[in-house]
Symmetry: none
DNA sequence: TGAAATTAATCCAATTATATACCAAAAATC
DNA sequence: GATTTTTGGTATATAATTGGATTAATTTCA
């Protein structure tokens, strides 16, 4: 059998996973690796590219190839390329049920924090940028209130979409003053429903809120 | 007794499952495998086609045959430490709405694939391991049917939990024959509801299904 | 016996690996 | 600080390898 780039990549992947190559270590140079495995340098390069695509290593021209330090994950390409409608559909799946779970698990401190956020949002009717940041914080707080770390992580991943360029532009179009007022009122109703421990009402209000967001979006897309 | 393609497929399947062949690894070439097992190349080809049909390997002309990468290389620490109840709550949030979206976007090919999976699951009432793999595939297929890449990615992340040790043990406890029969029937009802384009019925059936799963889980936790 | 599977031998097209040379960025050396 | 060495980045023509496909002879087993 002929050794190929996939095989080199597989070997290195194993060495990284079992700790033989630790975090931040510099790998041997491409030329050395090529000699060690008796392959051409191009083959080693291809293998390293595959590992780099998975974020396992970082290649720095003129310096070397390094094992990616733990915790520095690359931005997920799927998240990066998510469309506005995909995002809304996903929030439609998640957030109503997050409201139900928040009814079960939210604490007084969560309500205090939510009150704070709502108050500040109501002073942002003419500042789409500030409103948007607070809006993200509000929805993140709801996820936090579920005490479900998996859900919190998913919501944080989804939120990372919103900080991208296309979204920053879009919010300027969507978030006029009337819309912000509408969202503020909806946020308050949702919080009240959760506070009065009414899961289905909270979930339905969230659905209405997201429906409004979807409407704004499709209207904006038509212009 | 002559060695046939089914035997080769079975051997390779085992090597993939026990990790001797890891994700993204390249299998030896068809010619080498033929020599190793003392069979003709055509037989090896037939075996690889079976594995490919099950999605275990990817065959690339001119390049080689590769173990299908499942999930991510780097297991997210949050995902890694997710508890069974967190997972069920998260699926409770996602999957009913995934059913609604599947009603809107599923194609004939999705129904065909789902039929295939259901048929195979119904032959697994006494093999929890095989059933579990097919069950994951079924829920993944539903996510795929939404044509929403963001949702598909989230589901794939969640599924990566299920391949971890604590879960492998747990499935042996939970999945007795009666439970598998119940799940099979629920899966079929869900598929029927989606096929008849009834979003709310599909979503409610999924809720019932997950409620049953949660029950199994809490019962297992008590023992 | 007869259908189905396996074998063995080709040829093809796609993909990958090799070998080499040169460039540019970073690091090491003086 | 200037120079040399090392490192990855790029390009390319050639050779080797791989899966795809076809065919005919053979074996297997119901």
């Amino acid at each position: 059998m002929k050794i190929g780039s996939a095989d080199i990549a597989s070997l290195l992947r194993r060495e990284i996973n079992n700790g033989a190559l630790a975090s931040k270590d510099r790998l041997p140079s491409e030329r050395i690796l090529a000699e060690k495995y008796s392959v051409a340098r191009g083959t080693v390069r291809e293998a390293l590219n595959q590992l780099a695509k998975d974020g396992l290593v970082e290649v720095r021209a003129g310096s070397g190839t390094y094992v990616t330090p733990l915790g520095e994950e690359l931005i997920n390409p799927v998240i990066e390329s998510a469309t506005p409608l995909e995002l809304i559909d996903t929030r439609f799946a998640l957030e109503p049920h997050i409201c139900r779970l928040a009814v079960l698990h939210a604490r007084k401190s969560d309500f205090d924090a939510a009150e704070n956020l709502l108050g500040r949002m109501e002073n942002c009717t003419s500042d789409p940028g500030a409103f948007s940041a607070l809006d993200t914080a509000f929805h993140t707080l709801l996820a936090h209130s579920t005490r479900n770390q998996l859900l919190q992580w998913i919501v944080s991943q989804i939120n990372s979409v919103r900080n991208q360029e296309q979204w920053l532009l879009m919010r300027q179009v969507i978030l006029d003053e009337a819309t912000i007022r509408q969202y503020n009122s909806q946020h308050r109703n949702i919080l009240d429903a959760i506070r009065s421990r009414d899961p289905e009402r909270a979930a339905n209000l969230m659905k209405n809120h997201l429906e409004a967001a979807r409407l704004s979006l499709t209207r904006a897309a038509e212009t």
